[in-house]
């Protein structure tokens, strides 16, 4: 039982000491990673990149209707 519990504890400790003893370059790139992920997920995804079909339609039937419309337009539409 003890060894079963100690495995996750050892993993947590591994990461804890890894981050704690990280080199200067390691800290710098982690700061960049965090800033980058915030920009990508909290700014770009949230405000600039909605999933259009999910946003504009409530179910897959409506989505497929819309795409069928798009696929059956004449070439002049794409002029």
């Amino acid at each position: 039982m003890n060894s079963f519990l100690s495995a996750p504890v050892r993993v947590i400790r591994f990461y804890y000491y890894g981050f704690r003893n990280m080199s200067l370059w390691g800290r710098k790139v982690w700061i960049i990673i965090i800033i980058k992920l915030i920009i990508i997920f909290a700014v770009l995804k949230l405000f600039f990149f909605p999933d259009l079909l999910n946003k504009n339609f409530t179910n897959d039937e409506q989505r497929s209707e819309y795409i069928l419309d798009q696929l059956t337009k004449s070439p002049e539409f794409y002029d």
Partner: protein
């Protein structure tokens, strides 16, 4: 309601995707190749037990870590763009694109994320063999995650293993193995991954040359050059071989791209391969597109026929034949004919849509049965995308871009083979320090490796225009009906974000290189 597609929207959407992909690809090949070079170096350390090899391994692992960390998640933005800018395409491709990308996500997360931590935090905490296994798993995991992205991309170049379901307006995967072992996917994976190995080898040789020019870390630099040059020579020869395989496959499944990157207009037997050439506009046209002619050309006679058909008598169709059709030299339908067949496929889909709206169940059933028939799929639906073209010449990509990117990539590829051979000769004779000219060339060849790598992607993606999915969907039909201005805004945002990331990477990397392996 937008009345017709804004061409500026298509252009900005394409420009944005190109910008994101090009920046993303700056980080990826170095990750792919450096992970293997580091794994080889660590293997030598574990086998010899010499601390110098550990020092060497840790230095290159640091540079790998910087590149990996800065580049990680930059590819996710491409997936955002699918949902926002390319929603028609995203829906149309259905699970065929989603499945490989999902596998890639899981592999990348579990394999790379878990074992990268052991790579960096595990020195002196786990035993040597477990650490080495983790390093190899990171290398293999990086290439495996690339595999799934390339499988998805290959499907766009050569759609196989699927059927179109008109009820959902989506393509559905019916043969996973056909998608995975798509000949384009096999060639693309081997060629792309080994080109990443080549780039990383050039990076290691270039950076090590800098140390030698600065008369620093002589042992470290010489050993690094030896390992990287061996790996680089193997990789560059494999790149040449897989490039040849890839070209043969393209001649079969994307003949227009093949003809475009050779600027081959008139089909013939005993067709020559252009080793080097300069193009100019001529007075002749195909529709409204100007035919390019050579003002200077070095040709290898008959080699294009040998490459594609195995002998000099093999007929290689040119751009003109592919547009106008050629039922004598090869069984090629004209683009006009394909437009007609694609039009029938679209009209059938239209009939289905109308029958569904009027709730005419019998008609719906009849049309569905017809659309599922082999005749409809092979004779009409396989040309569906041609229904969106307005003129036959719209099927021709930009010949100049395809030609120059292809020839630049090939010429640089041969230069890298030469550099790796010279590096090995000088390394074995221990004359690297005496040949400073070579060290300078090696150092300045690092950016050339990036140019060659990016050229390959520009050729792959620009050469298949106007298609986003070969023959089934042109880019103009794939784009979402949104305002061009909003795409332009995010284009600028990405340009700023990626430039900042690249600047950060380069500055941290230069600092670490200057610090050297003694940090």
């Amino acid at each position: 309601m937008i009345e017709n597609v804004d061409l500026a929207l298509v252009d900005w959407s394409r420009a944005q995707f190109a910008l994101t992909a090009i920046y993303h690809w700056i980080f990826v090949p170095l990750t792919l190749g450096l992970s293997f070079i580091v794994a080889i170096m660590e293997t030598i350390y574990v086998r010899t037990g010499k601390e110098e090899w550990k020092r060497l391994t840790r230095f290159w692992m640091t540079l790998f870590g910087i590149n990996f960390a800065i580049g990680v998640a930059t590819g996710i933005i491409l997936e955002f763009e699918f949902g926002t800018n390319w929603s028609n395409y995203s829906w149309f491709v259905g699970d065929i694109f989603g499945a490989p990308l999902a596998i890639e996500g899981l592999l990348a997360f579990f394999l790379e994320s878990t074992f990268v931590a052991v790579m960096f935090f595990g020195w002196n905490k786990v035993n040597k063999k477990f650490h080495l296994t983790s390093t190899w798993l990171v290398a293999i995991g990086a290439s495996l995650s690339a595999l799934w992205i390339l499988v998805a991309n290959a499907w766009m170049q050569n759609p196989v293993g699927m059927t179109f379901n008109p009820e959902t307006a989506r393509n559905e995967m019916i043969d996973f193995w056909a998608v995975l072992f798509n000949p384009v996917a096999v060639d693309k994976f081997l060629h792309t991954v080994t080109s990443g190995f080549l780039l990383a080898s050039m990076f290691v040789v270039g950076v090590s040359s800098w140390f030698l020019l600065k008369k620093r870390e002589e042992w470290f630099a010489k050993k690094s050059i030896l390992i990287a040059a061996l790996f680089g020579l193997f990789s560059s020869l494999t790149v040449a071989f897989t490039g040849d395989m890839s070209a043969r496959t393209l001649a079969d499944v994307q003949p227009m791209k093949f003809a475009a990157f050779e600027a081959h207009y008139k089909g013939k037997q005993n067709a020559g391969l252009t080793a080097f050439g300069i193009l100019k506009n001529s007075d002749e046209k195909i529709g409204n597109k100007t035919i390019k002619k050579f003002i200077f050309r070095i040709e290898i006679p008959g080699f294009l026929s040998v490459m594609t058909g195995g002998n000099k008598d093999a007929y290689v169709p040119g751009i003109t034949n592919l547009v106008n059709g050629d039922l004598q030299g090869a069984q090629i339908l004209s683009v006009i004919e394909k437009m007609g067949r694609g039009g029938i496929a679209r009209e059938t889909l239209n009939d289905y849509k109308r029958a569904r709206m009027t709730n005419d169940k019998e008609q719906v059933e009849n049309i569905l049965n017809f659309m599922k028939s082999k005749e409809f799929i092979e004779e009409y639906f396989s040309y569906f995308g041609y229904a969106f073209l307005k003129a036959p010449e719209d099927a021709i990509p930009d010949v100049s871009i395809a030609f120059y990117t292809f020839h630049l990539m090939v010429m640089l590829g041969f230069l890298f083979i030469l550099i790796f051979i010279l590096a090995l000769i000088f390394a074995f004779r221990d004359t690297l320090l005496k040949n400073r000219w070579f060290l300078w060339i090696a150092m300045f060849s690092v950016p050339l490796a990036y140019i060659a790598s990016e050229s390959g992607w520009v050729l792959a993606e620009m050469g298949r225009q106007p298609w986003i999915i070969q023959d089934l969907m042109p880019v103009s039909a794939a784009v979402s009906q949104i305002k061009a201005g909003s795409v332009m805004t995010t284009f600028v945002l990405f340009a700023v974000l990626f430039t900042a990331l690249l600047t950060a990477e380069v500055s941290i990397m230069i600092k670490q290189i200057k610090t050297g392996p003694n940090h």
